[in-house]
Amino acid sequence: MAKRLLKDMAYARSGDKGDVCNIGLLAFDEAKYRVIRREVTPERVKQHFRGMVKGDVVIYSVPNLNALEVVLHKALEGGATRTLRFDQTGKSMATALLRMEVEADD
């Protein structure tokens, strides 16, 4: 087992709907998808974004794309139109998730 950053295992893109931010996480291949699906849990994502994401974290699997859909509630300080965040629409949240460290198989 070795520690790896998600950045070295997956691509990601994030966006907003109101105060909900979603991050699509695309594993580079099926083996990395298995690791990510095991390691990237709602609890760990919530912990990773502590102080930023105030609501629930929900994660959906998209196995045909080797992808996860990570949905962060109350994540954008009220949503794009009222937030004081510089990144009003949560576009940079994907890169913040890619900082997360996971236990890889190799």
Partner: protein, 454 residues
């Protein structure tokens, strides 16, 4: 087998025009869709319309159509646009003038209305329909009633299809969902209906619409492929070639900049989606968990086996309401001790606001170069930084308070540490907060009219 080629000509209000012209000239497309509306846009446009009843649409429609109508007419391309915003009829008047000036006699402009329910909110709540806030769970819309500036339903493709059947060369809508701009032409061309037996086809149309609706965002813009995508300054916008079985090929004009590969398609498929097996759109519910994506050549990606389910009984309505003002500003502090000087600058602003008695409802400090984007997820720097920006943003109840808060940032020019640099001041802006809710479909009646150029 019949195939329809759809191009995507705009992703947002203010998008670049050249790729849309390229699509019309060289894309061999049958339709081009143009999305200009974001969640905030309808409130801005509604306020423009309040000030001037002949405005309230996306004024980009004028330069866009001046360039595109002659090419579209020559190449027999139909255009579908939601640039109508809060005033599709006024937008249509502008397009009539442009078409007339170009001598396009007999040119037909379809105008879709019915999404604007601003003046029906009380009637709807009087029926006992609770307009629950989908973000917060709050049910008492009465709390914000007198501050509401816009209420628009995300409408589907029904009236776009009807306008095309009536011979429209261009269809102008208000808050049609971005997606419906693409679902409409496919349903019209293939004769698909909102009925059993068609839901997988409509699911495919919703999926294809989702892939291309943000234009450059599936051809290498905003992308993980930023390093691989060549010549982004002349990026090609996407083309979806859809067949009557509901399979699609995504590509772009050969020789244009940007990139179409499995990753540019996948990264957009997962963009702004919650449950990927239930992607809810007014025209149908797409399931992204069955489809296959396959690279089939340079800048060519096949998308097959798309599935769908019946359209939802409820439509999403976005209500915008006034909620105070934001004042903001930024200074940049240089080496040496840039970060320490920025932290001192924060203390100065806090002290000044206290001294002059301004109490923002919310006050935020970002350290640009440290944590402005990743917030607490970003580690503290363990090296001497070249420069650090201090961004200050304050949300206040009144314009006057926000203006005072904004001015305090400008004072950092002279109060903050050595080398403090202030660029240009930013104006105070009004906050429009959003109240997303659901309304039964039967409450939203859409329709269309045709204007013919004489």
């Amino acid at each position: 087998m019949k195939k329809v080629r759809l191009g995507s000509g705009s992703a947002y209000w203010g998008d670049i025009l050249e790729p849309a012209i390229e699509l019309a000239e060289k894309g061999n497309v049958d339709y081009i869709g143009f999305d200009h509306l974001a969640e905030l846009t309808m409130s801005i446009l509604q306020r423009m319309k309040t000030k001037d009843p002949t405005k309230g649409y996306i004024q980009d429609i004028v330069p866009f159509m001046e360039k595109l109508l002659p090419i579209a007419a020559r190449n027999r391309i139909k255009l579908i646009t939601n640039a109508g915003g809060a005033n599709p009829l006024a937008a249509a008047e502008e397009v009539v003038k442009i078409a007339r000036a170009l001598g396009l006699k007999g040119f037909k402009i379809g105008v879709v209305t019915g999404d604007d329910i601003m003046h029906r909110l009380d009637e709807i709540t009087a029926k006992g329909i609770v307009l629950r806030n989908m973000d917060t769970g709050e049910e008492d819309i009465g709390r914000i009633r007198d501050r509401i500036v816009a209420a628009n339903a995300y409408i589907g493709a029904d009236s776009i299809v009807d306008a095309l059947k009536a011979g429209a060369d261009i269809v102008i809508t208000g808050r049609a969902s971005d997606n419906a701009l693409y679902v409409g032409p496919l349903m019209y061309e293939f004769g698909w209906k909102f009925a059993g037996g068609y839901w997988d086809k409509i699911g495919a149309a919703v999926t294809v619409g989702h892939i291309i609706e943000c234009a450059e965002c599936c051809t290498g813009g905003m992308s993980n492929m930023w390093r691989e995508a060549p010549e982004l300054w002349r990026i090609g916008f996407p083309i979806a070639e859809v067949d009557e079985n509901g399979d699609a090929v995504i590509t772009k004009v050969p020789g244009s900049g940007g990139l179409v590969n499995q990753w540019t398609i996948k990264e957009h498929l997962v963009y702004e989606v919650h449950d990927p097996s239930n992607y809810l759109m007014p025209d149908g519910v797409a399931d992204f968990t069955s489809l296959s994506i396959e690279e089939a050549g340079r800048d060519v990606v096949k998308v097959t086996n798309m599935k769908g389910k019946p359209r939802p009984d409820m439509l999403k309505v976005q209500i915008g309401y006034k909620e105070g003002f934001i004042g903001e500003g930024m200074v940049i502090l240089p080496w040496p001790d840039a970060y320490a000087k920025a932290k001192q600058a924060e203390e100065i602003v806090r002290g000044r606001l206290k001294l002059i008695g301004v109490q923002p409802e919310e006050l935020r400090f970002d350290y640009v170069g440290v944590n402005a984007l990743h917030g607490p997820v970003a580690p503290e720097p363990d090296y001497e930084m070249n420069e650090v920006g201090l961004r200050v943003a304050a949300r206040c109840r009144t314009y006057e308070e926000a203006e005072k808060a904004r001015r305090e940032v400008t004072h950092l020019w002279t109060l903050a540490g050595l080398g403090s640099s202030f660029g240009s001041p930013m104006p105070v802006r009004q906050v429009i907060a959003l109240w997303p809710t659901l309304v039964p479909r039967e409450e939203i009646q859409t329709g269309f009219v045709i204007k013919e150029v004489d």
